[in-house]
Amino acid sequence: MAATEPLPLYQAIEAAVRFEEVTVERGGISIVDRVTATVPKGSCTAIIGPNGAGKTTLLLALLGEIGYEGSIRMGGNGRALRIGYVPQRLAFDRGMPLTVSEFMAMGFQKKPLWFGIGAALHRRSLEILTLVKAEHLAARQVGALSGGELQRVLLALALRQEPELLVLDEPSAGVDFRGELIFCELLDNLRRTRGFTQLMVSHDLATVTHHATHVICLNHKVAAEGPPRLTLTSDNLTAIFGMHMGLVNSRSMPGNQGVCSAPCCQEPPNA
């Protein structure tokens, strides 16, 4: 049914990020090929696609980590947005003696950490850690955290930036199912109360259908773009994932487990 409806025009919507003809080449191969897409302001936008489709590459181009052709414009007036970034898997040296409190403070504190952490900064870190239910980790060493714990601390660090644009690379990787639900509900609540734009990369359709308000289907090129109900059609998914995925019911829960309490699920389907 959805495939026959024309996709709405997104140029009219205020954009947080606008990709225009973005191309990234590595060794003569286009990993990202003339991508033109929009991340609407205040949305939860998901970039989905199979492994190796260029999802993370597009994020890295946005973060300015790799060179690209084309243009990436942020915000209405071209001023770079404050970004909070949650990497997929933080590659770091686990032997480093660094506590979670120090990790949260080191981007903000002027005085060197040898003189301890300022009381006000420490309180602020604890507030944010409490938000992601990780306050008990404050005194632990970052290198001793489990995958799920680290992901929470990284989210806390990203939120600590008071971001206008929260960028998440595979937010559910390394988080168990229960943790993942908390993660997504928490993000939904925060996005609404603080009014930031959320951009996440995912190959997990269950997460996307549940939480995204805007979807960019990517397989080197943009295969489809729009609200989940219009983009996550059987035809589109078969086209980008290269196999028959079946119709994704955008209101179903992964594995039929539990009921999602996130605000997005309480809204009427056509909101």
Partner: protein, 288 residues
């Protein structure tokens, strides 16, 4: 040139050892007291950035630096740090702007430096003896002029560490994350590489090309074993580095030892490292 005599007198009073009454020993002690904290602070970041090989390459460029000085009859005391600085920044630029792995980039620089130095020295047999000094180092011949240079470098480097310590840790942890969260990664990396090159060149004169990386790495590695936070790690590294330097100098001057000062300092530091390993493993047993 400022008069450093009052400083020497003070040192002799603070550490009333018989061997420290000689002026050259007081100079060596003062030089080490300046060099050790710098090496410790930079060493922490060298370990953090996994840049031990980088430090090694710069120390080996000392050869080429001295050779250049001898070739153009300029004082090697100037050509050596200047050339080291050039090599350090050069490696950093290549590393940031090429797809080669940093090991490969440094490996190429490293070989080029050593080969160049050896090629020039091999032209003149009388130069070869001069270069021995750089292989093994000699802190006992440090001059007042060099100590003043060290003092200036000390102030610059400690200011940089005080301002940049937190951000350097951030970059060492993960540069992409740091960049996304508005840390100026490139600026920090270039200043760090430049200062590291200078400190390595001074350390070469103290402990020699062969042991200079050890002076940076060993106290830092020991501090990582013992510390429970990044703040404490800094003070532990200072403690290990300073005690190694002072004890090494004193031991090397004893009649029963009469060892090379640089090597003795590194040996003491290595003892600290093994002790720190024991402490770390005992602590692990307690928590299990």
């Amino acid at each position: 040139m400022p008069d450093l005599s009052p400083l020497y007198a003070l040192l002799a009073q603070l550490l009333p050892f018989e061997c420290l009454q000689a002026r050259f020993m007081q100079q060596a002690l003062l030089g080490l007291l300046l060099l050790a904290p710098m090496a410790a602070a930079m060493g922490l970041m060298v370990v953090n950035f996994r840049m031990a090989f980088f430090a090694d390459a710069i120390s080996h460029s000392a050869f080429a630096g001295v050779a250049l000085g001898l070739l153009f009859s300029v004082d090697p005391n100037w050509t050596m740090p200047a050339f080291g600085l050039l090599v350090g920044l050069g490696i950093m630029i290549l590393q940031r702007h090429s797809n080669l792995s940093s090991d490969t980039v440094i490996g190429v620089f490293f070989s080029a430096m050593v080969a160049f130095g050896l090629a020039i020295v091999s032209r003149d047999r009388s130069l070869a003896r001069d270069l021995q000094r750089f292989l093994y180092g000699d802190i006992l011949t440090i001059s007042d002029g060099q100590i003043v240079c060290l003092l200036v470098l000390f102030l610059a480097l400690m200011t940089f560490q005080a301002i940049g310590y937190n951000h350097l840790l951030y970059i060492g942890l993960n540069p992409v994350l740091a960049q996304a969260h508005r840390v100026r990664v490139a600026l920090h990396q270039y200043i760090f590489a430049g200062l590291l090159a200078l400190i390595v060149m001074f350390a070469v004169q103290a402990v020699g090309v062969l042991l200079v990386t050890a002076m940076l790495i060993v106290p830092a590695a020991a501090a990582r074993n013992v510390a429970r936070s990044a703040g404490a790690m800094f003070w532990w590294a200072m403690l290990f580095s300073l005690t190694s330097a002072v004890m090494g100098l004193l031991i090397s001057a004893q009649d029963w030892a009469r060892t090379a000062t640089g090597a003795t300092i590194i040996l003491v530091a290595c003892c600290w490292f093994f002790l720190s390993l024991v402490v770390a493993s005992l602590r692990r047993e307690q928590t299990v």
